[in-house]
């Protein structure tokens, strides 16, 4: 029997009401996240990819209760005795659980308060969870600085004294401060240059093996996701369209949207000949999604059934789930090997 998953999300929904007029009448719902289920094992990295507006950030925010989900359950396995449903617990209980799950943000410039020293920033989660204070807190922050590769003597400096990559290290140190089990990393490297990006990705990898962390790694850059993930989930207009171990997903995709995404990733090799699939039109509007399969207006394989019937996410081959009526029949092309 393997260890139970750290996180088990089932049927997660987050709808935002569309209001209109002076009386703020609700005229519709934006289904930002619509019936999403996923699991993250201990020490596992689940990559979550999708285009802007597909709802991947909303999932991350719902899991940490920065947003209250509309429906669904979020089972968080804290230790062998305790599993809680983070979707239904109160704000007060959530505050106590914050130490077990933390977040790393995209922009290392806006996510750090310019008027706080590094000691304040990295020490804040420790203070809030009442895990340490005073000299003990300072020691702990100094050792965290060491863990993420910064010099402990810079504790009393302000964020502006650090470069983008160093700031992201500070963000990582803050997320690690309370010894969490799960870290939700929302586009943690997309604002960084290639050389700095490689440093942060290596750091995240090292920390995972050292502390047995689980990551939900949200990103739009598929090469980065392929590098860091064990399994990958692909979102389109609020729904998961494919979930699979990364090699399966990247080389043997089962959903036409995954195929199109992969074909669009530029390959850093001028001799690789490949056919870019240019998707017609734009990503569907989650307030007014198309009938049937949300992807059908842009799908080159779409048939009548796709216009009428919404496909369910089902297991096509062991471990690989896709929501396409024709997942078994289509011979889709993966990334160039």
């Amino acid at each position: 029997m393997t260890a139970p998953p750290v996180l088990k999300v089932e049927g997660l929904k987050k709808y935002f009401p569309v209001e209109k007029g002076f009386l703020r009448r609700v005229v519709g719902q934006v289904k930002a996240v619509d019936d999403v289920s996923l699991t993250i094992g201990a020490g596992e990295t689940l990559g979550l990819v999708g285009e802007s507006g597909s709802g991947k950030t909303t999932i991350g925010r719902c899991i940490l209760r920065a947003l209250d989900p509309t429906a669904g359950s979020i089972q968080f396995h804290i230790d062998d005795e305790k599993t809680v449903d983070m979707a239904t617990i109160s704000k007060r209980e959530m505050r106590e659980l914050r130490r077990y799950a933390n977040m790393i943000f995209q922009d290392p410039y806006y996510s750090l308060d310019p008027r706080w020293t590094i000691l304040d920033i990295v020490g804040e989660p420790l203070r809030l969870s009442k895990l340490a204070e005073g000299a003990e807190l300072e020691d702990r922050v100094a050792s965290l600085m060491d863990v993420v590769g910064l010099e402990a003597k810079h504790l009393r400096r302000y964020p502006h004294a650090f470069s983008g990559g160093q700031r992201q290290r500070i963000g990582v140190a803050r997320a690690l401060a309370t010894n969490p089990r799960l870290i939700i990393a929302d586009e943690p490297v997309s604002a960084l240059d290639v050389s700095t990006q490689a440093q942060i990705l290596n750091l995240l990898n090292d920390l995972q093996s050292e502390f047995g962390l689980s990551y939900l790694f949200i990103a739009h850059d598929l090469s980065v996701v392929e590098h860091i993930s064990d399994r990958v989930a692909v979102m389109y207009v609020g729904k998961l369209v494919e979930v699979a171990p990364k090699d399966q997903l990247f080389f043997f995709p089962k959903h036409p949207y995954t195929e199109a995404l992969l074909s669009a990733v530029p390959t850093p090799d001028p001799d690789v000949e490949k056919k870019r699939i240019i998707l017609p039109g734009e990503i569907a509007n989650p307030a007014d999604p198309p009938s049937g399969c949300y992807f059908h207006p842009r799908c080159q394989y779409a048939q009548d059934r796709c216009r009428e019937e919404e496909p369910a996410l089902r297991e096509i081959v062991p471990g690989q789930w896709a929501s396409c009526h024709f997942a078994e029949e289509l011979e889709l092309v993966g990334a160039p090997q």
Binding site: E51, S52, S163, G165, Q166, D193, V194, S195, T196, Q197, A198, Q199, L201, N202, N205, H220, D221, L222, S223, V224, E226, H227, F250, F251, A260, L261, L262, S263, A264, V265, P266, T267, P268, D269, P270, D271, V272, R276, I277, I278, L279, E282, I283, A335, P336, Q337
Partner: protein
């Protein structure tokens, strides 16, 4: 008050350069000293060529592009070098020496040389309709007739793949998605049939499927209008897919220049090699990525030496940190600035 442009009458055959940049330096005078954003950059772009300029943030690639249009922000100043532009009529004009607000550059800017930027929202005016903004450039450079300008604008919107172009002419930028706005920017840039298109990270803010659409559109437009394109990006994948020639910039200088094949399959400069190794590739299965230690220094008051030496594991102490290597043609059309390959120095001025 007008500088007489250096005119050199000659017909252009297909492989003639459109623009030749020679030893261009752009410095920003700061209190701490001169910030050398661009420091002795030379390259040429031929007709119908897709020339890639790659580098990390702060390497000077955007200031180089802005200088070609004489749009470098203050207090940036061209302190030396030439930007020899071959005009449509066959003349030669040094854009580095013209008045940045003068008639000559205004005649070329947006007309013969057009530019598209990274952030399409901040490059469009929120209070003018798309149609008005598109027609402005056309009325300035192509025609005096509003009716004709309208026709050209609608044609251009159609060409860049915007559905219902006549209707969208009346709309404002906030009605458009990011990808659509970038299409409008491209329509605007193409509306005067430029000979050189400068694309400064035009897809960085866009999703990967939209990026594929825009790259496709730029390639189509290049084929249709026989434009030369200067494509600026930090994404090695895009360079590999669309460019013919590539220059790698680091700290205001070109450290390596050559065909896209040479840069990707026979990189010679340690920076180019490490940049390639630091880029994650699908199917690579590497546990760890190679990193470049340290960060890019700020180009103020640096010694006259190789800019990469402080981060280079192959640095030769006493050589790399005391003199600046010259950009040397090691193989045909493959230039490298590194003492590991050639000991020629570039003297301080």
């Amino acid at each position: 008050m007008q500088d007489a442009p250096q005119v050199n009458q000659r017909g252009l055959s297909p492989a003639e350069p459109v623009i030749e940049i020679e030893d261009l330096s752009v410095h920003f005078a700061l209190d701490e000293g001169a910030l050398k954003a661009v420091d002795g950059v030379s390259f040429a772009i031929e007709e119908r060529q897709m020339f890639g300029l790659i580098g990390e943030s702060g390497c000077g690639k955007t200031v180089t592009a802005q200088s070609l249009m004489r749009l470098a922000p203050k207090p940036g100043r061209i302190v030396q070098g030439q930007i020899n532009y071959h005009t449509e009529k066959g003349g030669l004009i040094d854009l580095a020496s013209v008045d940045p607000a003068g008639a000559e550059i205004r005649d070329i800017r947006g007309n013969e040389i057009a530019m598209i930027f990274q952030e399409p929202m901040s490059s469009l005016s929120p209070i003018h309709s798309i149609g008005n903004q598109l027609m402005e450039a056309v009325l300035l450079h192509v025609t005096n007739s509003k009716r004709e300008a309208y026709k050209i604008a609608v044609e251009m919107l159609d060409l860049v793949g915007i559905p219902n172009p006549a209707q969208r002419m009346e709309e404002y930028p906030h009605h458009f998605s990011g990808g659509m706005r970038q299409r409008v920017m491209i329509a605007m840039a193409l509306s005067c049939r430029p000979r050189l298109l400068i694309a400064d990270e035009p897809t960085t803010a866009l999703d990967v499927t939209v990026q594929a659409q825009i790259l496709d559109l730029i390639a189509q437009a290049q084929a249709q209008f026989h434009m030369a394109v200067l494509y600026i990006t930090h994404d090695l994948g895009i360079i590999a897919e669309i460019c013919d020639e590539v220059a790698v910039m680091y700290l205001g200088r070109i450290v390596e220049r050559g065909s896209v094949h040479d840069i990707f399959h026979n990189p010679l400069h340690p920076y180019t090699r490490r940049l390639l190794a630091a880029t994650p590739r699908i199917g690579q299965h590497a546990e760890r990525l190679q990193v470049i230690d340290g960060t890019v220094p700020i180009p103020v008051g640096l010694p006259h030496a190789c800019g990469f030496c402080s981060r280079c594991p192959e640095m030769i102490a006493g050589t790399c940190d005391t003199a600046l290597p010259a950009l040397v043609e090691l193989e045909e059309n493959h230039f490298v600035r590194c003492f590991l390959h050639d000991d020629r120095k570039e003297l301080a001025i």
